[in-house]
Structures are given as structure tokens and as C-alpha cells.
């Protein structure tokens, strides 16, 4: 009886291959749209390569704008995945099983756009290799290059390892691109020893990836904090950025999950409880984010150094007040209200909060990057910064290309880890029971107590 039920559900799990195997017209429509946007962004970039950065709205002193904002934002989003899934894995949070992959894919794909934005920000893209050939390790930018490349490698491996059993399944199901699957499956046959090695590798990677992830965003924050510029030169930037990264990462994950759930009808796998749990996490991060933001701005305000105050007032009541206060509302007020109680922490509730946070976190990056630059210490002309169509197009193109790659991923690989779900079904229940039993006072004690 139990066996058949398990088999049935196993068969039901094969539904997860549907997106890979079947493709509807809606998919092509979406892909065409995304391609168009990404293509337009690419065109904008070619314009920029041709003419130089004069096609952007950047200027002196606002040397950095959308691209650096995007860079920080995308790298932040990348924390969605690896970090969360790694933490959840290490914590044996069993509800993770159906969401880890969706998260990990975000990490790997979005990193390309983080790095890509840095490359697009360069005046001399053709001399990119100088960073490798003549790198100077005193520069935080090089720390960034290093940690992002390590992070990219680690998170790719971390994405790939749990994919192997699923790829093997795809291979065995005789799909198109069989050569690809065969190559990637590395001869996985699902033996016990293979499983043991895999699980071990995954847990090593899960441990390894956490400090790397933290380092990545710390280093990103140091790009700013290592300068002496007002409101960049801050000691809490490291943790502040990491917290913000996890914050935006979870939000991105929730949005991605909701879309997958809707598009591929995975309500059975991505249940409200997942959203509820993530929502709780998000709530914690909301508070943490608020704490950091508050601390950061309060110390600046209280210290009242003129150079800092110029930036502070520009954010709070000046030219960037719209961005700042929108950020406060979208990053704190809206998510706080939605996430603070169980009744609104529904699927749609968390999605609304997440969208709000995603917008807010982009604005947060923006209000960190631009107002400081717009307020040089010496009394120059105050900077103005109005992004041009090129920057907007490239940003939109990046987002579109990211979504496109994400969709293509779901077309090549199952977005919910099938074997992990199955494993959960087959072993984890027992494992969990066993584990919980370990947590509890031992039977002997209980027996002793109850038996006189």
C-alpha cells in the first residue's frame, strides 16, 4: 500500500519534467518579448561602445550611476540562492527541498549581470584584460573581481552538484539535447556510493559557499567604504550590504517561485507554507534592514559632519528624497505591514512584499551610490544625474536577459529538484523523525520518570 502510494507520487513528480518536455506558445511569446528587450539593451550597449560613456547621463562628479547601482543590486540578488539554500541545507530545514534550485539558479545567472554591469561601466572595455594582466591587489575592485569569480565558480558547482541526479533522469528519459545531458550527468547511475559522494560534496559546498557569499557582498560594500567619501566611509557597510543582499535575495526568490508556480502549475510543490516560511525570513530581514539603515543614518546625522550632512540632506529632503522615502516605504513599511502577521503572509502577500522590496533595494543601492558622488567635499557645482535611454535600456535589457536565461534554464532542467523531493519523501521523513527524536529527552529518561 505504502509502496504504491510512493510510486504514484513518484510518477507525479515526473510532472516536474513537463516544462522541459513540453513548450507552449506562451513560452515563445514571452521569450520573444524578453529577447526584444534584451536585444534593445544590447543595441544600447553597442551605441555606448561606439560613442563612449557620453551617451549616459553620467558626469563629473556623478561618475557612477545606474551601472554601479545595478552591479550592487544584482550581486545582492545573487545572495538569494546559494546563501539561502546553503543555510537551509545546513540547518536541515526540510521545507527547502522544492525551492533550493530555484534559488541557486538565480545566484549563478544574476552574477553574470552583476559583473556585466561593471564591464559596461568601463570606459575602456577593450582593456578589460588589464585587470588580470596588471592587477593591483590594493584596489577593492580587484578584491571584488576575485571574490566574485570564486563565488561564481562555487555557486555554479553548488548549483550543478544537486542537478546531476536530475540530469541523469533527463538523460534516461531520452530527451532532446541528449548529448548535453549525457555529458553533464557524468555517468550518474544513482548508486548508493554515488549518492553518498554527492551528498558529501553538496554539504562541503554548502559550508564553503556561505563565507564566500558573505565575502562577496562585504567586498562590494568595501568598494565604497574603502574611500574617504562622505556616507560611504562607513564601518557597518559590510554587514549592511550583506543583510541587504540577503533581503533582496529572498525577495527575488519569492517572486521567482511565485512565477514558476503559476507558469508551470507547481502549486503542489511550492506551497503556501514555503511562502510563509520565506515570508518569516523576509520579515526578520526587514527588521534587520531597518535596523541597519536607521543606525547608519542616525550616526551620520548625530555626528553632523558637514560633508556627511550634505549627502544626508540630499537624501532625506533634497533631490533624492523621492528615492530615499520610496525606499523606506517599499523596504520597510509595506513589507512590515504585510509580513508581520500570519494572515497576510500568503502567497500573494509575500509576493507583493517581495516586489516592493526588490524595487526598494534597487533604490537603496541608488541612494548609496549617487548622492555621495553628487556632493563633493569642495564647493563644486552640485552634480546632476539624469539617466539616459541608454542606461535605462541596458538596465531593462539586463533584467530581461536574466529572466530569459532563467526561463531557458527551466526549459533545460527541472526547476524543482526532483531527486531531492523524492529523497525527502523516501528518507527525510524518517530522518527527520530520527533527528527530532535525538533532540528530545531520551526514552530511557522518560521511562524512568514514568515508571516508578
Amino acid at each position: 500500500m505504502a509502496h504504491t502510494e510512493s510510486n504514484q507520487s513518484l510518477n507525479a513528480d515526473y510532472r516536474l519534467f513537463d516544462p522541459v518536455e513540453r513548450t507552449g506558445t506562451a513560452f515563445y511569446l514571452v521569450v520573444a518579448t524578453l529577447l526584444a528587450v534584451a536585444g534593445w539593451g544590447f543595441y544600447a550597449w553597442t551605441r555606448q561602445l561606439e560613442e563612449g560613456l557620453c551617451v549616459t547621463g553620467l558626469n563629473r562628479p556623478v561618475y557612477w550611476g545606474f551601472y554601479i547601482t545595478n552591479f550592487v543590486f544584482f550581486i545582492g540578488i545573487s545572495h538569494a540562492g546559494t546563501l539561502i539554500s546553503a543555510i537551509l541545507r545546513l540547518c536541515h530545514a526540510e521545507w527547502r527541498r522544492s525551492i533550493t534550485r530555484a534559488a541557486e539558479v538565480i545566484t549563478v545567472l544574476v552574477l553574470f549581470f552583476g559583473v556585466g554591469n561593471i564591464i559596461m561601466d568601463l570606459g575602456r572595455t577593450d582593456r578589460l584584460l588589464n585587470v588580470v594582466l596588471h592587477g593591483q591587489f590594493r584596489s577593492p575592485l580587484l578584491w571584488d573581481v576575485t571574490s566574485v569569480s570564486i563565488y561564481l565558480t562555487a555557486s555554479s558547482i553548488y548549483l550543478y552538484l544537486p542537478l546531476i541526479p536530475d540530469i541523469a533522469m533527463l538523460r534516461d528519459r531520452g530527451m532532446k539535447f541528449k548529448w548535453l545531458y549525457r555529458m553533464l550527468a557524468l555517468g550518474w547511475s544513482g548508486t548508493e556510493s554515488q549518492h553518498r559522494i554527492l551528498n558529501r560534496a553538496i554539504s562541503i559546498m554548502a559550508i564553503a559557499v556561505i563565507p564566500i557569499a558573505i565575502s562577496v557582498h562585504t567586498v562590494v560594500s568595501w568598494v565604497f567604504a574603502m574611500t574617504v567619501q562622505p556616507m560611504w566611509h562607513s564601518t557597518i557597510f559590510g554587514p549592511y550590504f550583506v543583510a541587504g543582499a540577503i533581503f533582496s535575495g529572498i525577495a527575488a526568490l519569492i517572486i521567482a517561485m511565485a512565477l514558476i508556480r503559476k507558469a508551470y502549475h507547481l502549486e503542489a510543490y511550492l506551497k503556501p507554507i514555503h511562502f510563509n516560511h520565506l515570508g518569516t525570513l523576509l520579515f526578520v530581514m526587514t527588521l534587520l534592514w531597518f535596523y541597519f539603515t536607521f543606525a547608519e543614518h542616525l550616526t551620520s546625522y548625530y555626528g553632523a559632519e558637514p560633508a556627511h550632512m550634505a549627502v544626508f540632506w540630499m537624501k532625506v529632503s533634497g533631490k533624492f528624497a523621492w528615492a530615499f522615502w520610496t525606499m523606506v516605504v517599499t523596504c520597510f513599511v509595506i513589507p512590515f505591514v504585510i509580513l508581520c502577521n500570519r494572515w497576510t503572509r500568503t502567497v500573494s502577500g509575500t509576493v507583493i512584499a517581495s516586489v516592493s522590496i526588490t524595487i526598494g533595494m534597487w533604490l537603496e543601492r541608488f541612494t548609496i551610490v549617487v548622492p555621495t558622488l553628487a556632493n563633493p567635499r569642495l564647493p563644486y557645482e552640485k552634480g546632476i544625474y539624469h539617466p539616459t535611454w541608454v542606461e535605462v535600456s541596458i538596465t531593462a535589457g539586463c533584467v530581461a536577459a536574466f529572466i530569459l536565461l532563467y526561463i531557458l534554464f527551466t526549459k533545460l532542467f527541472p526547476i524543482v529538484s526532483i531527486w531531492e523531493v523524492q529523497e525527502g519523501r523516501e528518507r527525510a521523513l524518517a530522518d527527520a523523525e530520527e533527528r527530532i527524536r535525538v533532540y528530545l529527552p531520551s526514552e530511557d529518561v522518560r521511562l524512568q520518570e514514568t515508571t516508578p
Binding site: K176, F177, K178, W179, L180
Partner: protein, 169 residues
Amino acid sequence: MQANKFRIIGLVLVAGLLAFTWLRIGLSKSTEIRQPIRFNHKKHVQGGLECSGCHQTVKDQATAGRPETSLCMTCHEASVTKNPEENLIREYAQRHEEIPWQRVIKLPDHVFFSHRRHVSTEKLDCTSCHEAIGQSSEPPSRPIKFSMDSCLACHQKMKASVDCVACHK
């Protein structure tokens, strides 16, 4: 089967892209140099002429300088050789024109190089850098290139400055 097709298409695309880039770079700079007169360095050197006889500013200017037509005419006023090329000099002189010598060695715009410094104060022989030109009987048809490495090697050997801005302007 299908898989192979994809791989081939991919390879062709990459190859095409590379070829395109290479062509663009190659075509954008026409490298051929045609001098107005087939000047024979070797013959002049063998005739006992110093380099600075024609490259007159080599000792006191940054650039070595190319001879003005009038300078050529001090010797070539009358026929010295049977070479028909020689007549060209007099033709230029008659038209009061400078001979449009083409540049053979062109340092990049961001490099500062002074002949005076190397020749006058550091007493370097011309051949230390321009080894072959004095022995050539034909003007070079391609630009002669110097690499930063060769500059640096010598600078290090001679304990000259290797500060970037000493040469990069």
C-alpha cells in the same frame, strides 16, 4: 546527429566572429608604406655620412628630423648617381616642395621619446635601436615597431628610469 549540427554551427559562429574582428583590425590600418623616393640608407652610410648629417635635429631635439629638400640638394644639385630616382629630388626642389617622406617609425601618441636625451646626453649609438636601417638598401615597406619590453629591458640594464611617466606622456 542534431547535437553535432549545433556544435558545428557554434564553431562556425565563433570562427566567423574571430575572423571578422581580425579583418576589421587588419583593414583599419593599412600598413604598407611607400616612400616618394626609394632612398638607400646603406649607400649614404657607406659614403661616410653620419646619421645626423640628414637627421639633423637628432642631437638637440626630441625627434631626429627628416631632411628638407634643400638639404638633399646640397649634394644632389647635380647628378651624383645614375639612379633615375635622383631626378625626383630635383623635381621636388624645382617645385619648392618638401619631399613627403613617410614615417616609418611611429611611436604611439602616449609615448614620450627624446632623441636628444638618448643620443646627446646618454651617448647611445643610433644602431642601439635602429640596428638594421643603416644597412638597408631599400626603404622599409612596413612600419618598424618598438615594444615597451625592449625599452624597459634596456632601461633596466642601464639603470635608467623605469617610472611610467618618464616615458608615458
